[in-house]
Symmetry: C2
Subunit: 313 residues, 2 copies
């Protein structure tokens, strides 16, 4: 099937592309990457139309300025995350065919105070510009789908863990860092107490969500086309215990506690747990445990990469 992936150069985009062998792919990103079909800024008027010239029947819209950048650069966040998405949806409407559109939203559409587990009917009250832009994208996706312009589904991804690659400056970075760095023999900094609870999915689970969203019957969604994806709720203490079980004490001892009040304050505003009932009923499947999330990282990143396997403790 002719398939357009917008944001194909990112981590999830590349893993999704690898999971779509044999499809007729159009791979787009704003930055050049190996295998790109098109490199452009989706928020420039006219660019979305070009991507639709071949009438892809399936469109993954993964592109976004991330949370930290959207907060630091107000105008860029709105331009890329809101205007870019709206220009894409408008181009599809005007192209007058009805492709499936899979949109990656985020648990950042929710803002504290929360119930212990966020259900499918809980208010979207984001506390970041990024979350606001994603929530608006969800509303547009629902309305454009209801009007029959496309067949949309929005999936709110949990925090992806273990995110491969280098440490980054995102406030959430330590959730992956405390697993990834020790497994590679490196020290990692933990800026929050072990009691902090958060909501996770492996990159492999995330790609599974995207593929299921692309293939499922959307009639079952009715008019509520945005879904919180299932995930694993774990405290930092449970993350570390799982790391210890999988890789041993020596590896787990590479985590250095260094409390950071700023990061703690940011993290306190984030969701901790979900009751993702609708997504489960619709066949979306999460990782089984945080231990599985670690094993997936080892299988998909460390055993395939040229980097040395970490020593077992």
């Amino acid at each position: 099937m002719k398939t357009l992936v917008i944001g194909a150069g990112g981590m999830i985009g590349r893993k999704l592309t690898a999971a779509l062998p044999g499809e007729d792919l159009i791979l787009h990103d704003v930055v050049p990457f190996e295998g790109a079909s098109a490199v452009s800024d989706l928020s420039t008027p006219g660019e979305a139309e070009k991507l639709l010239a071949a009438r892809p029947q399936l469109i993954f819209h993964l592109a976004a300025v991330v949370s930290g950048e959207a907060e630091a650069d107000f105008e860029k966040g709105y331009r890329v995350n809101l205007d870019g998405t709206r220009l894409l949806f408008e181009a599809i409407r005007k192209a007058n065919y009805r492709p499936r559109v899979v949109f990656t939203s985020s648990i950042a559409v929710f803002g504290a105070p929360f119930p212990e587990a966020i259900g499918d009917e809980f208010l979207n009250a984001p506390l970041t510009s990024y979350g606001t832009q994603k929530a608006i994208g969800e509303l547009l996706l629902s309305d454009y789908s209801r009007r029959g312009f496309f067949d949309g589904i929005g999936i709110r991804l949990p925090t992806i863990c273990v995110r491969p690659g280098k440490p980054n400056k995102a406030a959430s970075g330590f959730f992956s860092g405390i697993i990834r760095e020790p497994l590679s023999g490196q020290e990692a900094v933990l800026p929050v107490p072990e009691t902090v609870r958060h909501w996770f999915a492996s990159p492999r689970a995330a790609v599974g969500f995207l593929l299921h969203a692309a293939r499922m019957k959307t009639e079952q969604l009715g008019n509520r086309r945005n879904l919180s994806m299932p995930g694993v709720s774990a405290t930092v203490g449970e993350q570390i215990a799982a790391l210890r079980r999988v890789a041993g004490d020596k590896v787990a001892s590479l985590i250095r506690r260094e409390p950071d009040a700023t990061i703690m304050r940011i993290v306190e505003g984030w969701p901790r747990n979900f009751d993702a009932r609708r997504a489960l009923q619709l066949g979306f499947r999460a990782d089984q445990s945080f231990e599985e999330i670690i094993r997936i990282h080892i299988e998909d990143e460390l055993q395939k990469s040229p980097r040395p396997r970490p020593a077992r403790g």
Copy 2:
């Protein structure tokens, strides 16, 4: 205080203006009206900036393409209700002062299925383009307020009843029509069963909400700046019983039952009842009963107008 009213030519705009004697008013609408300071299309780039030239410290944004028109004309609805609102918010951000902004949202941000009473943490899942545009306006208002660009508050108005003036083609028109027309000695058509329940506020209560929103301390709102206003939940049967108590059997007998499946289907998707706890705690006050709503209509419209008083039955 220098006060800008956008949408000042509408029914609520005119009543609000009348309730602001002594204020330094800038009255704007897209259509000319008596007392207008400015007539222009807010969705035309540059127009919002002109309205802010005098740096109004209080801005009421009441302007919108109504539900039926936004559904019939997709592009016009998004242009006026989304782009117009965003252009206003952007102009305020760039003007770099921090006025109070009072935005009229709507219970159309909610879509079925509902709980029996919609609480303050219930999902915004609109089933119309109008509701989508209002929900997006709410999200923008929250984010712009959080960032400190203005001090915003969004109020979700119940269905205004009794709406004065001539019958219109809105699907909700009968809720007012079955009171207004009989009180003026005219027959009114009731297209739905008496069991239909809906959520009401008088024009006088709506103006009270706007004034309270303009004057209250917004620190109490935290980051959740959009509120479902309190109202009166009444069935059509309760509306008619109240009319009978206020105006007698003869007036109530002017209601003619003429079931309309299309209107019934539309109305089934509308909210019936709310638990507007936050707004009540914050000092917003609804009408006491549907009977009071009728008496307000008689006092404010019939006793002041040159039209003859209706005969009592």
